[in-house]
Amino acid sequence: MSAAARRAWVAAGRAGVVVLVLLTWAAASRVTDLVPGLEPTLDTLVDGFRDGWLRAGLAATAQAVAVGFGWAVLLGFPLGYLLGRSRVFGELFDPLVAGLFAVPRIIFYPILLSWFGVGMVAESTMAALSALFPIAVMTTAAVRDVARGPLPKLAASLNLSEAQQLVKIYLPAIASPLMVALRIGFSVALIAAIIAEFFAARAGLGLLAARAYALLDLPRMFAVVLLIVTVGFAGNLALWIAERRLSPDHS
């Protein structure tokens, strides 16, 4: 099979998966009342945007995710870089960071709520806390990988300063794993914000889904879930494509 034919098959297969999911959904809605059909769900989605309630929820969630993700990058990258470059910090805090990485961070949300009260601050802190550890852990791993290679010797022979090493050596060398870290960080921040909103919030898509579930307003619930999935999927896909472009073995 030629490369072009293979690509066409893969593209067709990928489109086929989407069609299959939609068909399964349509079939399920005929079998049970608990799954609303495609049409009422899409109608609710459109109505939600026209009336504004869905737009407001989307804006609140987007704000929580953006602020949280921003803080996670601002804190997680330097932390991961420091752990990767400094042996003392690495030895002291590696087990702590690895341990916290394994803990389901959402469990800290009630603590954040009792500190900040219900609202945007608690949600974005939750998103930041969740995304910080994957970003830090993956940055550390990538930096150590580079440090084991020949590049640090080059840096030493050129007498590069710490700042020059960061900008000229490490950042380009870890660009590809860093993109993976950012993509996963984004996903984790989105999930954390949604779960947090499910539990307690003043606005957001998670809150809308939870309310719709409580009222058993199924078309509304499916519309919100569909929107969350679409937002997450689109964000993830965009970052994944950027990542593939950056990866060294991409021709």
Binding site: R6, W9, V10, G13, R14, G16, V17, T32, L34, V35, E91, L92, P95, L96, A98, G99, F101, A102, V103, P104, I106, I107, F108, Y109, P110, I111, L113, S114, W115, I184, S187, V188, L190, I191, I194, I195, F198, F199, G206, A209, A210, A212, Y213, L216, L218, M221, F222, V225, I228, V229, G232, F233, N236, L237, W240
Partner: protein, 258 residues
């Protein structure tokens, strides 16, 4: 091993410094809390959290929650392994299928699986079934992906060598492919387990009738702040413990391979 220079002070082991830092943090928190620097409804003294932990450990409810959470995690992880490993093999055997599903798996990895929880709640009812379903999908994805990557990275020379010495298909899988893929596939299992834990606790936290995640949220809603911290502590310690266990397994397996 670092060789100490003669005369130089012996390096202090990192483990000791870590525990000292930890003890110092707890002590500072205790003193500050007793001095009334924190709102007791936001951050109770460590001693209070500890006595709440003892109170919880004497009750029966705690063990019901612990049992529910552990059973759910193990069930989800088990399904993830049983489904994920063969799926990884299929994606490797049929690269076209692997390429078709890869972007979906990579994006589902971290993403929308959890938001289907209310959907499944509506369909399956309140109980362990919807949690196990979603947590097992969350565990399955990294396991399938890592298995595929592990098998794809085996040098083609190895199976050829196996064939040339007369391996049958079963022997080829058991004696050649399995050991060659293990070092890369085990981190997938570790990640799958972590996702099973995260998913289970998060969904219990959103809406459930028992489980450690549910109980932490429950204590928050009833303002039992020390109890809430105690539950969080238990979940944290359990997660760290299981992670360390997988770490030991991973190191042992790698040593056996080399």
């Amino acid at each position: 091993m670092r060789a100490a220079r003669p005369g130089a002070p012996r390096p202090i082991p990192a483990r000791l410094v870590r525990w000292l830092l930890f003890a110092a943090t707890v002590a500072v928190l205790e003193v500050c809390a007793r001095a009334g620097m924190f709102d007791p409804l936001a951050l109770p003294a460590p001693a209070q959290i500890f006595s709440a932990l003892l109170r919880l450990a004497r009750g029966e409810e705690f063990y019901t929650d612990l049992n529910r959470t552990l059973v759910t995690v193990v069930a989800a992880f088990g399904i993830g392994v049983v489904g994920g490993l063969p799926l990884g093999v299929v994606f490797w055997k049929l690269p076209l299928v692997g390429d078709v599903f890869e972007p979906y798996l990579v994006t589902m990895y971290a993403l929308p699986t959890l938001v289907f929880y209310p959907v499944l709640l509506a369909v399956m009812g309140l109980g362990p079934a919807p949690i196990i379903t979603i947590a097992s999908v969350m565990a399955l994805i990294p396991i399938a992906l890592n298995t595929m990557v592990a098998l794809r990275s085996i040098p083609p020379m190895l199976p050829k060598l196996g064939r040339s010495v007369g391996c049958g298909t079963a022997q080829l899988y058991r004696k050649v492919l399995l050991p060659a893929a293990t070092p890369l596939a085990v981190p997938g299992l570790r990640l799958g387990f972590a996702y099973a834990v995260i998913g289970t606790v998060a969904m219990e936290f959103i809406l459930a009738v028992s489980g450690l995640g549910f109980r932490a949220g429950y204590h928050y809603r009833f303002f039992d702040v020390p109890e809430m911290y105690a539950e969080v502590l238990v979940i944290g310690v359990l997660a760290v413990l299981f992670n360390a266990l997988f770490g030991v397994l991973e190191r042992r397996i790698r040593r056996d391979m080399l």
